[in-house]
């Protein structure tokens, strides 16, 4: 099983689109440097992914692992934000459909989800995304709070945005993603009926 997983990571690294210069051969975790090609100690590193061509990321320390589609057992009666449960090396981990959480339309049929497993206070959670990107390093000077034009549901889970050369990078706040998922007991129960 360990080997399988590495394979997946391999795949996902290659699948990730290459946007930045310095496209060296992948070894260990790829590092891409944005804009000013400088490594600073206070540069932040993010593991990135795509949803509907929006470029998101979470702090790299929060990420446990990433992999391709995995068999998800759906949970009947659970709200659509909960895609189901997966077996992660013997641990049962909840899969959260990030599209639903962020207010995007549901995944079109035929598009398989990829998994980004993050560590939270309550254990690991598997976020389902469209595509996995590379690990990037960004300079804090590029950071800005979420613009007013952004949909409030989306804005509520963002730490902020980074203005990169060619695109906007949206930094997710993992706590906000999982906590504010509106999955209090009452909500689940009312959705049941």
């Amino acid at each position: 099983m360990e080997e399988e997983l590495d394979e997946n990571q391999e795949q996902s690294r290659r699948i990730g689109p290459r946007r930045f210069v310095n496209a060296g051969p992948p070894e260990g975790i790829d590092r891409r440097v944005a804009k000013a090609d400088r490594r600073h100690d206070n540069n932040r590193m993010y593991a990135t992914f795509f949803i509907e061509n929006h470029f998101f990321g979470v702090e790299v320390e929060k990420v446990q692992e990433v992999f391709n589609a995995q068999e998800i057992t759906s949970v009947p009666l659970a709200p659509p934000i909960i895609a189901g449960l997966i077996n992660l090396r013997g641990e049962i981990v909840m899969a959260l459909e990030l599209r639903n959480r962020l207010g995007f339309p549901p995944r079109p049929p035929g598009m398989e989800a990829m998994s980004v497993v993050i560590r939270t206070a309550e254990g690991s959670i598997n976020l389902l995304v469209d595509q996995i990107g590379d690990v990037i390093e960004v300079m804090p000077s590029l950071f800005e709070p979420p613009p007013e034009t952004v949909d409030p549901q989306l804005a509520s889970v963002l730490d902020g945005v980074y203005k990169l050369d060619d695109r906007i990078f949206l930094a997710l706040n993992t706590e906000a993603v999982t906590k504010g998922a509106g999955l209090s007991q009452n909500e689940v129960l009312s959705k049941q009926s």
């Binding site: 068999e71 057992t73 759906s74 949970v75 009947p76 009666l77 659970a78 909960i82 189901g84 449960l85 997966i86 077996n87 013997g90 049962i92 909840m94 309550e122 254990g123 998922a181 999955l183 209090s184 007991q185 009452n186 909500e187 689940v188 129960l189 049941q192």
Partner: protein
């Protein structure tokens, strides 16, 4: 944890062991005031506590313990007699000691309040009953304390937390210090004591046990659970490959894993005595305060169960015991008047059976007055009058589990507030247990608890619904039934609810695909009414004394599964009890049987209407009693058809009747429902068809429905269908019988429909 704290914690653990025995020992001493072994054991415990306090700097605790010790010395030296009064006071001191210890446990310090009062009380008692209190000998205890402390500090592996094996019973009193100390220490203590030395006994007790941290045992248990999962996976793969060499290796591994699992499970088992040992005191105190006489008999105290389960049943059992004394057992004079022994008996029994722990509580008190319970339930609006009328004896008994119900005339400290039995049941069900009650007015009450041996790994039955696999805990499984249409068994539908006649009783059915709102798997047509698809699998489940049938698509294997709790976000779904990983690596959800019952609408007692339906239909199928629907067409005539044929009853506005393809129809549930006026077919044709509304009996077959228009629905009855044959040639009438004193025609619905629309019965529904 620094050294000081660790020493303190060890002290607390040792005290806990000794104190835990004290309650029981004191109560036993009360019954046997001259038992010197008991006295010696009690004395030793108090003495040790007092001694160690000095070293640890716990003056308040030392003070109280010292006061108690003074009295005990007198008693032990036979200079004071052991009296109930004395024991009560000493028990007070024990309570104070417990309180201080509890405070120390959470804060590592003594409480702020003063405990001088109890010490003064003890001294006063001593002065009254015996000679002047002897001054404490500061040297000896200190020395002991030091010696002990040193030993502890030096010991390489600090022993900790609860012992895995049961604490020794009172008749075999090992000195509290010995379980972790060395021989030297025990001897030292014993020598100074001059009390009944059981050094050698203590030694053998020391050598055969070891103290293990509970956290470590939990970890072991988790690891074993993981191993079981992996073993399941491995087993599955190897079975598929069918390689002889691999198979034999895996078989061996399988054997070892099973034994490992059993052994680790056993390490966490503790005898129920650990919970029961406080009951003698509880019973004594409660009986005294109520002015009653109660004898407690406990059988099976050595029965073991998992530590966590033990903790979970502690409160419920305590409540039950209190209830029995507060409300069950009568006052001595009342008992005498009833011809009973003035002393009531409370009997506790525990034993293993069928992979579960059974705990019985029996009292020979006044029993539960079922009528009173019903009245109270009605008064408090917990149930409707109709529902009450339809209750069976046992169902009425189960009313005591309703929240807010208490028939106590007197509210005591804990019982009588009506918050008891429902909480008890909830707590028992939380650990996948069940509770049943039986009672006879004037004779007594019996409560029976059944609790699984362990929660982590359970045997389960895998079932399929809508192509997904689900696990049902074996504990809730009663039996498996397969309904085949050819054998003539049927699933009956009444007013939309399905039932299956199982050995004469109607079993309410719940469809798993419907409960979980799953898309129905492609299967042969499912219709309502009389005709079922080829084969139906019913899993009969039990919960809280009630059974119901769960209809599933397929029944798969039995598997041993590791129960993993659901994520916080999913805990709100009451139909699931947890999740597990199957042998093939996929995740499967574990069904929560009470949750399924509730979602399926089977909590009758709350919903009066459900019960009403059931009460009407509850067939105690003796002979050929059938439930019939009675109706009239023109007002004077009476007709009957089997209720089992009826899909539902409807009312339509006459204005909604339309004409289509030469028939009269009404728009109904998105389709056109053809109508047949029964009066025109078999009646006198004189019925008034001009009313504003018409009543129709919906009959369905092959996904089609037809509405049989009648005049008036009269009633449903249960009757033995013995027909006088109908005159030949009368279509649609099978015969007649007398119902409620009036002649009633028993109809053949199919013949009627056939006569109006030939071929309708055989036709398949057109795909609309």
């Amino acid at each position: 944890m620094d050294e000081q704290e660790s020493i303190l914690r060890e002290f607390l653990v040792e005290c806990a062991e000794g104190i835990g025995r004290l309650d029981q020992e004191f109560v036993a001493l009360e019954k046997e005031p001259t038992n010197s072994a008991l006295l010696a054991s009690i004395f030793r415990t108090i003495h040790t506590i007092k001694g160690t306090c000095g070293f640890l700097g716990l003056p308040k605790l030392e003070n109280v313990a010292h006061g108690a010790e003074n009295i005990l010395v007198r008693m032990r030296d036979k200079k004071m007699t052991v009296t109930p009064e004395g024991i009560t006071l000493l028990l007070e001191a024990v309570d104070a000691i417990k309180a201080i210890l509890a405070h120390i446990e959470s804060t590592l310090k003594e409480p702020d309040q003063s405990y001088d009062a109890i010490r003064q009380k003890l001294d006063a008692f001593l002065a009254e009953k015996g000679a002047a209190p002897s001054p404490p000998t500061p040297e000896a205890p200190r020395k002991k304390g030091n010696g002990k402390g040193k030993e502890k500090a030096a010991s390489p592996a600090p022993p900790s937390a609860a012992p895995p094996s049961p604490p020794a019973p009172p008749t075999e009193p090992p000195p509290p210090a010995s379980p972790d100390g060395g021989k030297e220490e025990a001897k030292q203590k014993e020598g100074n004591d001059g009390g009944a030395a059981s050094t050698s006994k203590g030694l053998s007790a020391t050598e055969s046990t070891i103290r293990v941290d509970v956290g470590l045992l939990d970890k072991l248990m988790n690891l074993v659970s993981e191993l079981v999962l992996v073993r399941n996976q491995l087993l599955q793969r190897v079975r598929e490959r069918d390689n002889a060499a691999d198979t034999s290796i895996v078989q061996r591994m399988n054997l070892i894993t099973t034994q490992l699992q059993e052994s680790v499970t056993r390490t966490r088992m503790q005898p129920i005595r650990n919970v029961w040992n406080q009951f003698p005191r509880v019973v004594r105190d409660l009986a005294h305060s109520n002015g009653k006489e109660v004898e407690l008999v406990m059988e099976g105290a050595e029965t073991e169960l998992d530590k966590t389960l033990l903790e979970a049943i502690k409160d419920p059992l305590t409540h039950i015991v209190r209830n029995a004394i507060d409300h069950g057992i009568e006052m001595p004079d009342v008992r005498r008047a009833r011809g009973k022994d003035p002393k009531g008996i409370l009997f506790l029994k525990a034993y293993h059976e069928g992979g579960q722990i059974n705990i019985e509580m029996r009292d020979d008190g006044g029993g539960i007055d079922v009528e009173k319970v019903k009245r109270k339930a009605l008064e408090k609006g917990l149930i409707s009058a109709e529902a009450v009328a339809g209750l069976s004896e046992s169902e009425a008994m189960n009313l005591i589990f309703l929240p807010g119900l208490s028939t106590a005339d007197k509210v005591t400290h804990v019982s009588g507030r009506g918050v008891g039995m429902d909480v008890v049941r909830t707590n028992i069900e939380k650990i996948s247990g069940t509770i049943e009650v039986e009672s006879q007015l004037g004779q007594g009450t019996r409560l029976k608890l059944k609790i699984p041996l362990t929660l982590a790994i359970i045997p389960a039955l895998m079932v399929r619904a809508g192509r997904e696999l689900f696990a049902i805990p074996q504990a809730n499984l009663v039996e498996l039934v397969r309904v085949d249409t050819d054998t003539g068994e049927r699933i009956e539908t009444i007013h939309g609810a399905e039932f299956y006649r199982l050995r004469g009783e109607l079993l309410p059915l719940v469809r798993l695909t419907r409960i979980l709102r799953l898309p129905e798997a492609p299967a042969p047509e499912k219709t309502e009414g009389r005709f079922e698809a080829e084969g139906t699998n019913i899993v009969v489940l039990g919960t809280g004394g009630q059974s119901f049938g769960l209809v599933v698509d397929e029944v798969s294997d039995r598997e041993e599964i590791v129960v993993k709790p659901l994520n916080r976000h999913l805990k709100g779904l009451n139909v699931f009890a947890g999740a597990t990983i199957l042998g093939n690596g996929t995740v499967a959800l574990i069904l929560d049987v009470p949750g399924i019952a509730e979602t399926g609408g089977l909590h009758h007692l709350a919903d009066g209407s459900e019960l009403k339906l059931e009460e009407k239909v509850e067939a105690v199928d003796q002979g050929m009693q059938e439930t019939l629907l009675l109706f009239s067409l023109s007002g004077q005539d009476r007709y009957a058809i089997p209720l089992s044929l009826v899909t539902r009853l409807e009312e339509f506005k006459t204005s909604r009747v339309e004409h289509a393809a030469g028939r009269e129809v009404v728009q109904y549930r998105g389709d056109l429902l053809p109508l047949i006026w029964l009066d025109r077919v078999i009646g006198s044709g004189s019925a008034d068809e001009k009313g504003e509304t018409l009543h129709a009996i919906i009959f369905s077959r092959n996904k089609k429905s037809v509405g049989l228009v009648v005049g008036e629905i009269l009633d449903t009855v249960q009757e033995e269908v013995l027909l006088h044959p109908a005159p030949a040639g009368k279509i649609g009438v099978r015969g007649s019988l007398v119902i409620q004193g009036l002649t009633t025609d028993f109809l053949d619905v199919e013949q009627i429909i056939e006569s109006v629309e030939p071929g309708w019965l055989q036709e398949e529904a057109h795909v609309g």
